[in-house]
């Protein structure tokens, strides 16, 4: 395998380009997706190869273009709907939750909506309360949807290609701060199956289950923990639904201590579900309660001094792990 380093953003673009080339049913629709390539420039250049018929600039109508995508998916196309900021998912919720997620079941299996909703998440870009949320819990809650949260360029590419080929509606959530992150991505084609967690670092004393933006935070914390003699394992579920319960439970049984970290709000968050799965599956092996770390339960503030307090950091995860392992 020939390996190269590319950015997260390039990995996303490659996945889209390859799928657009492979399958004429695939198209992209969203705001400023064509010549502008989105405000994050993730799609730059796609319009040159695939034209404006397949890279469709839409009006600022989230429910409208999301619904149009759902209808196209139900009638033989493979739309990738671009929802610029995850915060705007709330505008599209009826189309995602009441239409796309339910159409297969409600029709007794006769209709389907093979569609990808690409959107973003993540705070600390100084974008304040309406451009910083991580709403994965909202969509992970809904039967009929699959939810993907890649944490590396490699995962992003393989998972996005799988998402586009999936027969179901998939919400694909990208951390905005990760777009420039580089990583090794093979030049050859590959797919990554949903529902298979990845061990991002092996360890014995404590398990850090982390999603998306929090994987790097967990890896940083693990490095610090090593310096004080604590060996941390980092598990990335990669998809919050389907969920690889066994991988988390097995790691928890081995280490006996677990922290679950996700950038969504802590209240009723993804961390609550994962922690409950682990507590249930590894109860007799645990030496401490499963701890959860998410975004603070406040609207994300603007001032950097305040905003930085709201999300888990290497330092806060390190401190939590240290105290869980009863080291001072």
């Amino acid at each position: 395998m020939s390996e190269r380093e590319i950015t997260f953003s390039e990995a996303i673009r490659e996945a889209l380009a390859e799928e657009l080339r492979r399958d004429p049913r695939v198209f992209i629709i969203g705001e400023d997706v064509a010549e502008a390539g989105t405000p994050f420039k993730v799609l730059s250049g796609l319009v040159d190869e695939f034209g404006k018929e397949r890279i469709i600039d839409s009006p600022i109508s989230e429910p409208g273009f999301t619904g149009v995508g759902v209808g196209a998916a139900m009638t033989g196309m493979r739309p990738v709907v671009d929802i610029m900021f995850g915060d705007f998912l709330t505008l599209s919720m009826d189309q995602i939750v009441n239409q796309a997620a339910k159409v297969h079941y409600m029709s007794g299996g006769k209709l389907k909506a093979p569609i990808v909703f690409r959107t973003t998440m993540g705070a600390t870009r100084r974008s304040a309360a309406q451009h910083s949320q991580s709403l994965q819990a909202w969509v992970s809650h809904v039967p009929g949807l699959k939810v993907v949260m890649p944490s590396t360029p490699y995962d992003a590419k393989g998972l996005l290609k799988t998402a586009i080929r999936d027969e179901n509606p998939v919400v694909f959530i990208e951390d905005k701060l990760m777009y420039k992150m580089k990583g090794i991505v093979p030049a050859e084609e590959y797919l990554i199956p949903f529902g298979v967690a990845d061990v991002k670092r092996k360890g014995d004393d404590i398990t850090l289950v982390a999603t998306s933006s929090m994987v790097q935070v967990a890896l940083g914390a693990a490095e610090k923990l090593k310096e004080i003699g604590i060996s941390a394992e980092v598990i990335d579920p990669r998809t919050t639904w389907p969920l690889d319960k066994q991988a988390m439970i097995d790691s928890a049984k081995k280490t006996s201590r677990v922290i679950v970290i996700d950038e969504g709000y802590e209240q009723y968050g993804v961390t609550a579900e994962l922690a409950s799965v682990i507590a249930d599956g590894a109860f007799y092996y645990l030496d401490a309660p499963v701890k959860r770390m998410g975004a603070m339960n406040v609207p994300i503030p603007f001032s950097p001094v305040l905003e930085d307090l709201t999300v888990p950091t290497e330092e806060t995860v390190f401190q939590m792990a240290k105290s869980l392992c009863q080291r001072s």
Partner: protein, 327 residues
């Protein structure tokens, strides 16, 4: 669905339209009975009174053209070609239903006849119909999509988002607004400012208002709009003035607090789509009462048989409960 291509004459076609309207009327009568006898789980929104809209519109379509439907969708479904027995089965939550009993009255879908499903979110299918039209255009399939919705649904913002896109991209979609004057228990004068078709016209969309009780007028107007759309001339909007004879749903029995008995009587007596068509055909000496009565009798037999089929059909196996969540 349209028998136009198979029938040799206009008369045969309008007799078929009469039969379709009669089938919907009879179907809904039986649905009401099932509810009254507590044989049907839940509620249903009857289409009685509006038959000329569904039949006139669907007779202008091909079998593979798309429709999206509403909570008041039985008429759309039958007019587009769904079978009576499997519709009853769906309403009763039976395995043999169009959706294996998982959808019920407000979610009947029949992709084989181009029906992408009824929708219990008022206005919820406006995006789906517009997307189906985009898909038809991208695939070059020549299909058109029809979006049925009520006067109440005109208040949903989604309509304006998708009409804007349909107009910009010249999509083969026709928005059919069934203006029956009421959304639930509220007259449209309380909820609707301005004219309905002016909304479509604001986007440069060709729009017309017709008497929705006249199936011939509905079909002829619709045919024009469908032909335009197929020629690539873009979306259209058709407002059909109509009336629902029963309440908002089968349980809405005492209605005098929101509309008068006189008003209901007037529509039934003077604007009934079946009567209107019968009178016209007889006046033009194209048919006689005996032919029409025979149609009514045959329809009654078919509907009765369909209902009995559904009553006797088995419920789904409990193991079905978590099937079809994912493909």
């Amino acid at each position: 669905m349209s028998k136009k291509k198979e029938t040799s004459s206009d008369v045969e076609h309008w007799l078929y339209a009469y039969e379709q309207m009669a089938k919907i009327r009879e179907f809904e009568e039986k649905v009401n009975e099932l509810y009254m006898k507590a044989l049907m789980p839940g509620l249903a929104h009857l289409y009685s009174g509006q038959e000329a809209v569904a039949v006139g519109v669907c007779e202008a379509l091909h079998l593979d053209d798309y429709i999206t439907s509403t909570h008041r969708g039985h008429g759309h479904c039958l007019a587009k070609g769904a079978a009576v027995d499997r519709m009853f089965a769906e309403l009763l939550g039976k395995e043999a239903g169009f959706c294996k009993g998982k959808g019920g009255s407000m979610h009947i879908a029949d992709p084989d006849s181009g029906n992408l499903g009824a929708n219990a979110i008022v206005g919820g299918s406006m995006g789906i119909a517009t997307g189906a039209a985009l898909s038809a255009k991208m695939r070059g399939s020549g299909q058109v999509a029809v979006c049925f919705f009520g006067d109440g649904a005109v208040a949903q913002g989604l309509l304006y988002e998708v009409m804007n896109m349909a107009a910009l991209w010249k999509l083969p979609v026709i928005y059919v607004c069934e203006n029956n004057n009421y959304s639930e228990y509220t007259h449209r004068s309380e909820t609707l400012a301005g004219e309905i078709i002016a909304r479509a016209q604001a986007f440069g969309i060709h729009a017309e208002t017709v008497d929705g009780q006249d199936v011939q007028l509905v079909q002829e107007t619709m045919q024009k709009l469908v032909d335009r759309a197929r020629r690539g001339e873009g979306p259209a909007f058709l407002e059909c003035l109509t009336y629902r004879y029963y309440g908002h749903h089968v349980g809405d029995i005492n209605r005098t607090y929101y509309r008068s008995k006189e008003e209901e009587h007037d529509w039934r007596e003077n604007h009934d789509p079946l009567k209107l068509l019968a009178e016209k055909l007889i006046a033009q000496k194209l048919t006689d009462r005996a032919v029409l009565d025979k149609i009514l009798a045959d329809v009654a037999t078919e509907v009765e048989a369909g209902m009995q089929f559904a009553i006797n059909a088995p419920f789904p196996n409990p193991s079905e409960v978590n099937e079809d969540v994912y493909v």
